[in-house]
C-alpha cells in the first residue's frame, strides 16, 4: 500500500455502475479530465454527480452531461453550461442546487464524521424548504446534512507514490474536502514524485485519504 500509482485499466475495474461520484474543480480548474474520460470510456449511465458547476461546454464534467450519463446533479451553479440548463428545463436531469459554502461544508462534514452543521445561508429562501431550522441565540440557522460519495475523482499538482498531495493556486478548491468524503479516492496527478521527496509541511492532503493515483492532468496546459 505504499505505492498507489496505477494505470487507467486498473481504475476502470474499480469503478462500477450505479455510483455516486464527486468530481473536483471550479469551472474546470482542478478538474481531472483523464478520470472524466475514463467514465465516458466505460459508458456509465444514471450517475449521480457531485461537482460545483458543470464547467464549460466540452470540458471536464460537462462531457458527462452532454453524453446524458448523469441522472442527478448536486451542484451550486450551472450558468456556464447551457446544455445542463437545457436538460434541467426539459426535465431530463434532476439538479439539486446548494449554496457553495453549504455545498463544500456538507462534503467536509461527511469527511469529518459530523452529523451536519448549522448555517445562516439560505434562511428564508427555497434552500430552507423541507429542512430543519434551529435557533441559536437570536438567529435562525438551517441544519444541513453531510454529503458523501462512493468515489471521488480529483486532481493534484503533485502526488508522491504513497498518495500525499499538493495542489496549485486556485486548482485546490473543493479537492481536499472531496478527498475526505468518498469511499474510493482516485487522483490524477500532474507530477508524481518519489515518497519522501515532499516536505511533510507542504502536504495538503495526507496520503491516508488517497487510494489510487494515475499520471495526467496536463490537458489544459
Amino acid at each position: 500500500m505504499m505505492d498507489k500509482v496505477t494505470n487507467i485499466e486498473e481504475i476502470k475495474k474499480s469503478v462500477t455502475a450505479g455510483k455516486t461520484i464527486m468530481i473536483g474543480g471550479f469551472l474546470n480548474v482542478g478538474a481531472p479530465e483523464k478520470l472524466v474520460d475514463m467514465l465516458i470510456e466505460k459508458d456509465m449511465k444514471d450517475l449521480t454527480i457531485i461537482t460545483n458547476d458543470t464547467s464549460f461546454p466540452g470540458k471536464g464534467p460537462a462531457k458527462l452531461i452532454e453524453r446524458k450519463m448523469v441522472k442527478k446533479l448536486i451542484c451550486t451553479h450551472i450558468g456556464t453550461n447551457p446544455e445542463t440548463g437545457r436538460q434541467l428545463n426539459a426535465g431530463e436531469i434532476e439538479v439539486e442546487f446548494n449554496p457553495q459554502g453549504t455545498f463544500v461544508e456538507r462534503i467536509r462534514s461527511a469527511g469529518a464524521g459530523l452529523g451536519g452543521f448549522l448555517t445562516p445561508t439560505g434562511v428564508g429562501t427555497l434552500v430552507a424548504q423541507g429542512k430543519q431550522i434551529i435557533s441559536v441565540g437570536d438567529r435562525d440557522y438551517i441544519l444541513e446534512l453531510p454529503l458523501k460519495a462512493d468515489i471521488a475523482l480529483i486532481k493534484a499538482w503533485k502526488a508522491d507514490r504513497m498518495g500525499n498531495l499538493v495542489y496549485r493556486r486556485s486548482a485546490r478548491n473543493f479537492t481536499p474536502l472531496m478527498a475526505m468524503a468518498a469511499e474510493l479516492v482516485i487522483v490524477e496527478a500532474e507530477n508524481i514524485v518519489e515518497t519522501g521527496s515532499l516536505d511533510p509541511d507542504e502536504v495538503m492532503t495526507p496520503s491516508i485519504l488517497v487510494d489510487m493515483i494515475i499520471p495526467g492532468g496536463y490537458e489544459n496546459e
Binding site: 471550479f26 469551472l27 474546470n28 480548474v29 482542478g30 460545483n52 458547476d53 464549460f56 451542484c75 451550486t76 451553479h77 450551472i78 450558468g79 456556464t80 440548463g85 434541467l88 428545463n89 439538479v95 442546487f97 449554496p99 457553495q100 459554502g101 453549504t102 463544500v104 461544508e105 467536509r108 448555517t119 445562516p120 445561508t121 439560505g122 434562511v123 428564508g124 429562501t125 427555497l126 434552500v127 499538482w157 495542489y167 496549485r168 493556486r169 486556485s170 486548482a171 485546490r172 478548491n173 473543493f174 479537492t175 481536499p176 474536502l177 495538503m204 489544459n220 496546459e221
Partner: protein, 217 residues
C-alpha cells in the same frame, strides 16, 4: 462597457476604505476594480480560493490554475494566498469580508435580493451568492436601474425566488445611490440631470428623498 455600467462601476469604486477585503461578483461588479481611486487598495477575495486576486494577465502570461470566479484567466498579486473552498466560505460566512458587490434581478425595500433564478426559464444556480450576501458586512448591489424591457427591478416586494432576506445595504444604479434602511429606501445621490420624479417613475418601491441629495459623480 456601456456608459450606464461605467457610471455604476465608478460610483461603487468610491465606497471602500483602503485595505478593505472585498468580493466582487461576475460581470459589472468585476469592473469596479478598474475605477478604484488613488490610494485605495483592496484585498480582493475570490470565492474559488484566492486573496489578493489581481487584474487579468497579459496575453501569453495566463496560468491554467489561476482564474477568477467567472472562469476567466486572472492573476495573484504579491501578498496573495490560496486556500480550499471550505476556508474560502468560512472567510465569507464568518464575517471576514468587508463588502461584496453583486448584480441583481430584483431588490426590494426590505433589502431582500433575488439574483439566482427565474423559475422555468433561467436557473443558473446561486453559486456563492447566498453565502456572500449573508456573510459580508456590507452588501452593495450594482445594477442597471430597470430591465432591458423597462420593467422595475427595485420593488416593493421581490417576486422571484430570494437569494437572501433583508441583507442588502446599498443599491447603485446609473440613476443614483440608494441606501436601504428600516424606514425604506433612501436616495443619497442622484446622477447628474436626474430628478427625484424620474428615478421614482422607474422604481416600484416608494423612495425617500431627504433634503440634501448629493450629485452622484
Amino acid at each position: 462597457m456601456s456608459d450606464a455600467r461605467a457610471v455604476i462601476a465608478k460610483r461603487v469604486a468610491r465606497m471602500f476604505k483602503d485595505g478593505d477585503i472585498v468580493n466582487l461578483g461576475i460581470g459589472l461588479p468585476t469592473a469596479v476594480a478598474n475605477y478604484l481611486p488613488e490610494g485605495i487598495n483592496l484585498v480582493i477575495h475570490s470565492e474559488n480560493g484566492v486573496t489578493m486576486m489581481g487584474p487579468k494577465p497579459l496575453e501569453g502570461d495566463e496560468d491554467k490554475d489561476v482564474i477568477d470566479a467567472g472562469g476567466r484567466p486572472s492573476t495573484i498579486l504579491p501578498g496573495g494566498a490560496c486556500f480550499d473552498s471550505a476556508m474560502s466560505f468560512a472567510i465569507i460566512r464568518g464575517g471576514h469580508v468587508d463588502a461584496t458587490v453583486l448584480g441583481a434581478l430584483q431588490v426590494d425595500k426590505n433589502g431582500n435580493l433575488a439574483n439566482w433564478m427565474v423559475p422555468g426559464k433561467v436557473v443558473p444556480g446561486m453559486g456563492g451568492a447566498m453565502d456572500l450576501v449573508v456573510g459580508a458586512k456590507k452588501v452593495i448591489i450594482a445594477m442597471e436601474h430597470s430591465t432591458k424591457n423597462g420593467e422595475f427591478k427595485i420593488l416593493k416586494e421581490c417576486t422571484l425566488p430570494l437569494t437572501a432576506v433583508a441583507e442588502v445595504d446599498w443599491i447603485v444604479t446609473e440613476l443614483g445611490l440608494m441606501e436601504i434602511t428600516k424606514e425604506g429606501i433612501i436616495v443619497r445621490e442622484l446622477a447628474p440631470g436626474i430628478t427625484p420624479e424620474e428615478i421614482q417613475a422607474k422604481t416600484e418601491a416608494g423612495l425617500i428623498f431627504p433634503e440634501n441629495i448629493a450629485i452622484m459623480e
